[in-house]
Symmetry: C2
Subunit: 354 residues, 2 copies
Amino acid sequence: MLGAFPDGGRQTRARRYSGPINTRIVLARRPVGWVDEGCFATEDVAEPEIGPEDVLLQSVYLSLDPYLRGRMNEGPSYAPGFALGAPIVSRVVARVIASRNARFAVGEHVWGFLDWAERVRVPRGEGLHKIDPALGRISHAVSVLGMPGLTAWIGAIQIGQPVPGDTVYVSSAAGAVGQLAGQFAKRAGARVVGSVGSEAKRAHLLARGGFDAVFNYKTTPPDEALRSHCPRGIDVYFDNVGGTTLEAALRHANAAARFPVCGMISAYNTEGDAGIRGLQAVLTKRITMTGFIIYDHVHHLPAYQARVAPWLRSGELWFDEDIVPGGLAQAPAALVGLFKGEAMGKRLVQVAPE
Amino acid sequence: MLGAFPDGGRQTRARRYSGPINTRIVLARRPVGWVDEGCFATEDVAEPEIGPEDVLLQSVYLSLDPYLRGRMNEGPSYAPGFALGAPIVSRVVARVIASRNARFAVGEHVWGFLDWAERVRVPRGEGLHKIDPALGRISHAVSVLGMPGLTAWIGAIQIGQPVPGDTVYVSSAAGAVGQLAGQFAKRAGARVVGSVGSEAKRAHLLARGGFDAVFNYKTTPPDEALRSHCPRGIDVYFDNVGGTTLEAALRHANAAARFPVCGMISAYNTEGDAGIRGLQAVLTKRITMTGFIIYDHVHHLPAYQARVAPWLRSGELWFDEDIVPGGLAQAPAALVGLFKGEAMGKRLVQVAPE
């Protein structure tokens, strides 16, 4: 995965400032269908200066997540869209490099929804969350111990409610959310089946453990795979992709199945909407399909972290981070690659050393 | 509505018995797409004789319900399919005309899942439910105080959970379930909007009360109607029809909306499945879509009857029965008409006087 972005620096670099420079990445044009690197531009801007109560941060890790695709559109999704010409914003892990705020000391690590920039000024330190280094790696604050992890927990456990004997099917199973959703369901006693988009991911997931079966949806038709790997049908389908995968899950669902809907990435990057066929199964099989957005569940984060951090430390739970090196300039290509299914685990861009 | 079936007796009448005759209606051929009367045949068969512990019934009211369409197919739905050449079965209100069973006395009324026949022998009286005449009209046992009523309650109240200030949209609002779903939501304090398929139904529902607005989906595009009648969006969509109506409801849904899915009649009678577009709204609006089948909720029936029967007696709740006269021979045409949207309220076929 790493180093797979030879075109990473191709996007326009606009120089419109000649003093001490900071660099940021902005939305240059809205994507139509698939995102390409031309949707982004790298800009040199003034080095931020901080006023009273402000905090200055050095970005360390940008969190790249599928939901960012929705924010690149004009229309509303569950998060507001990025403005044209304005910086891309995502969860970012950063280090305090200057502070005029008593709550933040130089050298501390924080995360927040921040501009994709080398350095960011945060007025009054608002919206920043301190990272407890005792919990795990600092990147975990935006991955396994952050929103992707909580997303997996809420969907797989709170909405899915698997019990021993149930079969849980997870799509995008090698992704940040999928790998955890599968492991959490497995801990609950379920048979867990995952689908991925490459042989490498399939082999990797099987080797990592936590999944009873993994199939490559690009080489095995979902119907065939679900028939053979879910012989007793599906009780929980953790939907990360929508589309024909959701249609197959509807066909193989058992009565009273739960479908936590976490993502429909198959629809994010395509203009058309072919429609979901066979939705009558919701009625005939009395399925409950529950869309959920993690913003509604953030109050569970401390309890989630308290439960899951020990499993991570003990090695009972594994988690893959796919850290793209090469600095901020790699972010556009890394995001394009994420939408293409390149990432093995949670994708982050390393902007600076920890 | 009544008397609208000039072709009611057109179907094949098979005489294969020459003794005392009983008449029944069987599935003559499986429908492809829309049902027509040629799917049914009327047969003369031997008059049933009863043995020890048996009960002999005279059918009084056949209950005609949309779910019967699914049972006419070969493939499994939530109820098993009818066999070719075997009688159609539905809920039937009947009078005991002979009994060798101590639990049932001649003259009592019962309901059960019974063959569509003039007279039916019930071995050991199994599966029969006595009708308490104190609760209401005997037909109510298969309508407002039976499964259609409980279906409306479970969907509108238990799954929909409307609160004052919510907007509840009900499709097929003049149907047996829809008219009650709307009234129950209204009692819960919601603004209630219904859609129907004719001007007559629209005028009737508005005159009957319990709905704040009613539109005719055949003359007003759902998007336009929902925009004007649900200015604050939809919090509960009680889905009886699926299809493009469901798509419109997804577009107009509020965050955290509940979609009890009770029927998808638009898909029952068509061969193709165009697919539901815009299902991503389940995710972006964190909608919960819950398919439900009333068989899972029958244990609530006594409590439901206890709550609702007084409202019916006091006139706080209204309920329309669309009783088709003319005897058993009218049943095929009456069912075809139900699928075409002819019924105004709960459709029953009167086989014999009460």
